[in-house]
Symmetry: C2
Subunit: 542 residues, 2 copies
């Protein structure tokens, strides 16, 4: 058990690399033993792949007509130097990083606009709409599904709309536990400001250091503590958005029966309907303390069953993570110093975390402890909980290192009912192993459950394989495609919290049906008749 006060949050954040994730002083690094394990398991042999310098990234000629550029520059801050264009050319998916490292900047926008207000956003949209210029909303740029890649086909040009200057917490109503945010506020900024008033959002996705409120709204984000604090859509009360057809406002009522929930059309709209310019979000009182426990469970199936009992007994922790046998093996490789390595042999590691008042966390943790023990779980030392808290944002930093060593490192996720969890778990793992083995690059596939619901849970996969030098993207596409087909066939959602972007768009027909797509298209056509808003995302072509 690890118990302790919750430290205050600093608004400081690391700088993002143009070709990867962040640069942090205490950034994580692969241990030598882990590197050795990978080299052996994945059969790495080639020397490290090359990476181009920023000045050698190949960019398209800016296509924006001169007078349009002038008018846009008159409305809002406009930058179109090399670095700005490269930094807005792609998100942070594995294929994005492969492309950037190889010097492929073909998707760079003609310019980056940095509006400072709702009115500037509206004016930029109006100008782009009139000039048939595509417009891509850009928050933290952390999309792992191709959500922020500018696609210019059929347009007179394409610009990226970077919302980072709209970064104020506009107002806090601590009586109603509501606050109004600009779209460009990042996780650290939000938590630092709210923390001063003893409040929190409780939203901590892996992208937390960089991602923004607007991005959370637009992608239906879920965080590491969403089992307790709820997915981001549960926090959204009010919204303001601008579309080419005008302005939309969703009032922040606590509840309403006034027809379909338009809020839920904007949440998850990924910039294809308009730009979120303001969000009124539900807050929580900041936790006084937190309790994180590590547990050993005899198998993934038994662990999932224990987690099911927890959430269905209203005893779910705020953070609930259960690694499968493979992930447990990788996580504990080289960490036998913690003294738990032998006990984990053949079993699974779980971390459960509680946050709140002293009384609340201890009583909930106690209840969880008795249910887990009754389900055959064994409590481990304080190590796993502390390690998880310390490393919770590390994975994308490590991905950069893996890419440096010629390793494909990718993640994907789904969710399904408890009754169907085992079937989905096997199907996706098998698809990844079979597909990559058939290409001569047998992978390491690991999985964990990280979000519990009364009716089911999420599954989050990580897979690593030796890169097929020169065919990195084809290799990735084959694996991604096989996994996505397997998800659909096995009754999972195509994405639990990564959103759709362009990567998942081909599976949206299976997800919502042809008439469901038509409904989304009807919304888009009404709000964005010329289709300038983030083209190519969310919706597959007709």
């Amino acid at each position: 058990m690890s118990t302790g006060a919750v430290p205050p949050v600093s608004a400081e954040r690391p700088r993002m690399r143009w070709y990867g994730w962040g640069e942090r002083d205490d950034g994580p690094a692969l241990s030598e033993s882990a590197s050795a394990l990978l080299r052996q398991a994945l059969g790495l042999s080639d020397g490290p792949p090359s990476r181009v310098e920023l000045e050698h990234v190949r960019l398209p000629e800016p296509a924006l007509p001169g007078e349009v550029r002038s008018r846009l520059a008159g409305i809002s801050e406009l930058v179109d130097d090399r670095e700005a264009r490269v930094r807005h050319a792609l998100g942070r998916s594995y294929p994005d990083l492969v492309r950037l490292r190889s010097g492929d900047g073909s998707s760079a926008p003609d310019a980056v606009l940095r509006p400072a207000s709702h009115d500037e956003v509206a004016a930029v949209i109006a100008e782009c709409d009139a000039a048939r210029v595509a417009l891509v909303p850009f928050g933290g740029g952390t999309s792992v599904v191709g959500g922020v890649e500018p696609l210019r086909e059929g347009f007179a040009g394409v610009v990226s709309l970077d919302l980072s200057r709209m970064d104020a917490v506009r107002s806090v109503d601590s009586r109603s536990l509501l606050a109004v945010f600009d779209p460009g506020v990042t996780g650290p900024q939000a938590e630092a400001e709210l923390g001063r008033e003893g409040l929190t959002l409780g939203h901590f996705p892996q992208s937390w250091e960089f991602a923004t409120i607007g991005g959370y709204v637009a992608t239906r984000s879920a965080g590491q503590a969403s089992t307790g604090y709820g997915r981001f859509e549960r926090m959204v009360r009010g919204l303001r958005a601008v579309a080419p057809a005008g302005e939309l406002e969703v009032k922040p009522f606590p509840a309403s029966a006034a027809g379909p929930a338009l809020r839920e059309l904007l949440v998850g709209s990924e910039g294809v309907l308009g730009v979120i310019t303001e969000a009124t979000l539900a807050l929580r009182r900041a936790p006084e303390t937190r309790v994180y426990d590590g547990w050993w469970l005899p198998s993934f199936g038994e662990g999932a069953e224990a987690f099911r009992l927890l959430v269905q007994s209203a005893a779910a922790p705020d953070v609930a993570r259960l690694s499968d046998e493979a992930e447990t093996l990788v996580a504990t490789a080289g960490s036998s110093a913690e003294g738990s390595g032998d006990r984990l042999d053949g079993g699974c590691l779980a971390v459960v975390g509680f946050e709140g008042s002293e009384e609340n966390t201890s009583s909930r943790a106690e209840r969880c402890r008795s249910l887990l023990a009754a389900a055959g779980a064994r409590e481990l030392g304080p190590g796993p909980g502390e390690a998880w808290l310390h490393n919770r944002y590390d994975a994308p930093y490590l991905r950069d290192e893996l890419l440096d060593r010629g390793v494909m490192a990718e993640t994907l996720e789904s969710a399904t009912s408890w009754s169907n969890l085992e079937r989905l778990y096997r199907a996706v793992g098998d698809a990844l192993r079979d597909t990559l083995a058939a290409r001569g690059t047998p992978p390491i596939v690991t999985c964990h459950v990280s979000h519990l619901y009364p009716s089911g849970a999420s599954l989050y996969y990580t897979f690593l394989a030796r890169q097929e030098r020169g065919a990195e993207l084809e290799q990735w596409r084959a694996a991604k495609s096989a996994a996505s087909d397997a998800i659909v066939a096995a009754g999972g959602t195509i994405t639990h919290h990564h959103a759709v972007g362009s990567d998942h768009a081909p599976w949206m027909r299976a997800e919502v049906g042809e008439l469901g797509l038509e409904l989304l298209r009807a919304a888009k056509e009404r709000l964005d008749p010329r289709g300038i808003m983030n083209p190519g995302k969310l919706l597959p072509p007709r």
Copy 2:
């Protein structure tokens, strides 16, 4: 404190009157003292108003072309006798009952179709679409906002689609706590079937004896225990619906980030987009026990503040009701036998209820008790909780009796943030009192809080006044209109759980804005290009 085991639910339900609510053996009746109070307070003097017999209700000539009628009768059970047409002419709002009692059956459908399956619904819709016949989905017929009134203007005819024959619980997945329901299943049917497996929906609106699953979905229903069990939209996981343009399916994933939530477009769609033919709903374990406490609070404002602390401390009861001073006075008139009459003088009555396992309810009730006591509340005897449980479905029965005595009896509801609650409370009450006093019929206006959210609460008003004989509908319209304008001006939602129907449609522009309406229209036009689905509801005319 009232503690006790939860009795099993019978699937039996009372029969609905053609001109009012239900007929029940133990149906409630106004006491003599309450009648005397009303006579005096409202200045009743006229003799009781007349009510026509069923055979004298004025019905329009059936307009359905003979061949269309034949084709529809070949698809599905069709009835078009007098009683069936009258029973589907209106819902159960106050103006609906005034009209029925006066013999106004002008909105009767040409025929009532009673499909037995999804496929029959689809075939009926196709036939109506081809023949330009309007179609009104009909569940329990309990709408209090004009939601099921057939409107035929501009159509070759209008039929009511009564879903009561589609009343099976299709499957129960007790591992995932999910069940698949036909749309015509009523509350008592659902609870009786689920109860046999130790499960419950936990959804108990005042219309529970009659209302159906499909109606709950279509109206974004909230129940008396929604503070604990959640509004109906929180229970809806999967849906199947048929529209003129085809079939829609929302898969019952526990969560998804795959774009906007189409589920939330169908929930609350009130039959204007299509017909819900199947719903997969989240279940709960049936409670073993329940604890209902009555409390006295010094004022409505202090009571609301205490409730805010409860819900924001995660200590909210499952049922939370706080009557204002006026409602407390009416509720306790003639009940001094309970021994709490004197203590309530000048204050407010609250009922808080907990349901669950023995351990869970007692620990939650204990925590609530200490928070309420700290907020200045005083615990009352077991009376209020028991009385509330016993009378929880009574109000619409009493309304019939009030109409018999020439009393206008109407309810309306809204919701807003905690910070804005006092303002909304005063504004709506003042609007009702001012408007009706100016017409020479000063009302009794009472209010209670019945649904708590971390960011705010609902307000539920009841108002009684002497009917303006011969101008009952104008009188009602004036009061309703003034209250609705006041709600909008004071920052409330136009409806917290009664839905929109035709009564609230004029305020939808204020609720969602012009572009919000356009979004809803875009959805309707894509799914229902000829506009046959429940015309005149939800959306105001352009």
